[in-house]
Symmetry: C2
């Protein structure tokens, strides 16, 4: 089984090329591959498969954007479960397709479980991806390290609570899972803490639902930019301005939007190779 | 740059084949390769180089065992610093050499900075490696999570404090670095907590000096077996018995000895591949 490994601002993925949809990918194998010591290690797996060969039913083919997207990003979380979309993963996916010649830039539509998404290769080598609409649903509370923080409840496809702070983001204890009001967040939420550090520039840290503290989170960066734009009074007026969002793993740029947010950042392929047959035989369970 | 990735009981390594000693391996590159999200990820790097091509001076060639060992395990810690020996790494190194046909089993002498070490391939696929002499230097104390633990001060080339407990090893808080008496441990120590769980069988957890809590530690497993043998009254009588040592990453077997301890365990090659040229160009600094 061939693979590549790549990352976007420290959010890292094992890429499994499977153009013709022949790969069996049970959850146990994904988890074994993503194991950071006994496997290759990664935050998730990106299976690279032609949309027409992905084994999708007619309705699913439509919903992922099969009509416009030759390639489907079959994204799996590190525990093997399916995931809809991942902004950092989408950039890495686009980089891989173009690097190996499976697709050509500078514009590329990729099918995802959240629908078709456009990836654009910028002149400086960064990649911009569509993140879909962002919505603000009012105020909410999270308890982090025993302290209560107020933030904006924001949906970027998935639920977020983005808290604008007056103090350095390093002061917040994110080690334990945030305590949230289950009535407000029945499925939990990613919690971002952010601080405005300059003109249209914020620094953020994030606790991702189910993953803990991570180096970067694409939807979290969008939520942070929305909260910052709301605090600046821009969001309410529909002004779509570009924000720089510093995450622990690097620098992203976000143009938050109620209709089509944009996320720009680096995407790096670190290595390519092949999983050892002997290891695969035991890892597959 | 070609690589393999492998692990022994969850202690994982990036293997860099360099038979003719042509590889430049500055500390910054090793650290970038071992970075678990922006690189490949590993506890260390094993450079696979012919002893004669390793660029060693005459005295060093002698001390690593160049006269008897065709291959030299050039082991680097994840921060790029040099390391003398690593029992889990040595098994993975031996597995790699035999897997790719650079050497033949079942017995193989490998040069290390701690001297030549014999690796023996067992019938069941496990590998036994020589760990050198172990010495007991009396009692010592470590404070772990605010609580004092008494243990045996043991040298396995590097310093250890191995504490035999009457309670489950999971109860010990190993998150913070152990507090040790600097007069007794001027260079710090690895601290093991262990419990006898059966006939010549212990379970252990370890806090490795400079690395924190790890899945496994070869010299730590030897120290744990020495402490258990001492508690059983065997060590004092020079009885060299085999102990099973359960570590978080798997099962090891140790025959502790004042002259030549043995460590047996699995070694797995997970993948082989090539580091991306573009990534290397930036990672090398």
């Amino acid at each position: 089984m061939r693979f590549a490994k790549g990352h976007g601002t420290g959010n890292d993925f094992v890429i499994l090329p499977d153009p013709d949809g022949r790969l069996e990918l049970p959850a146990a194998l994904v988890a074994a591959i993503c194991d950071r010591t006994a496997g290759l290690g990664g935050d998730g797996v990106l299976r690279v498969v032609r949309t027409a060969a992905a084994g999708l039913g007619a309705a699913e083919f439509e919903s992922v954007g099969g009509g416009s997207a030759d390639w489907f990003m079959d994204y799996r979380n590190a525990d093997g479960s399916l995931a809809e979309m991942c902004g950092n993963g989408l950039r890495v996916y686009a980089r891989y397709l173009v690097d190996v010649g499976l697709a050509a830039g500078p514009e590329l539509v990729i099918g995802t479980r959240a629908g078709p998404r456009l990836a654009t290769f910028e002149a400086d080598g960064q990649i911009t991806v569509q993140m879909g609409p962002a919505q603000v649903h009012g105020l909410g509370l999270a308890t982090l390290g025993g302290r209560a923080y107020q933030g904006q409840v924001i949906s970027v496809g998935n639920p977020h609570l983005a808290c604008v702070l007056d103090e350095p983001v390093e002061t917040v204890d994110l080690t334990a899972a945030p305590v949230l009001d289950p009535a407000q967040f029945p499925a939990g939420a990613n919690v971002e803490v952010l601080r405005v550090t300059g003109e249209h520039r914020v620094q953020m840290r994030v606790h991702e639902r189910g993953s803990g503290v991570t180096m970067s989170c694409g939807t979290g960066a969008v939520a942070a930019a929305v909260a910052a734009a709301a605090a600046a009074g821009e969001w309410q007026h529909g002004a779509e301005r570009r924000w720089e969002v510093q995450v622990p793993g690097g620098l992203l740029a976000v143009t938050p939007s109620a209709t089509a947010s944009l996320l720009t950042g680096p995407a790096v392929i670190v290595a390519t190779g092949e999983l050892a047959a002997g290891w695969l035989a035991t890892a597959a369970g």
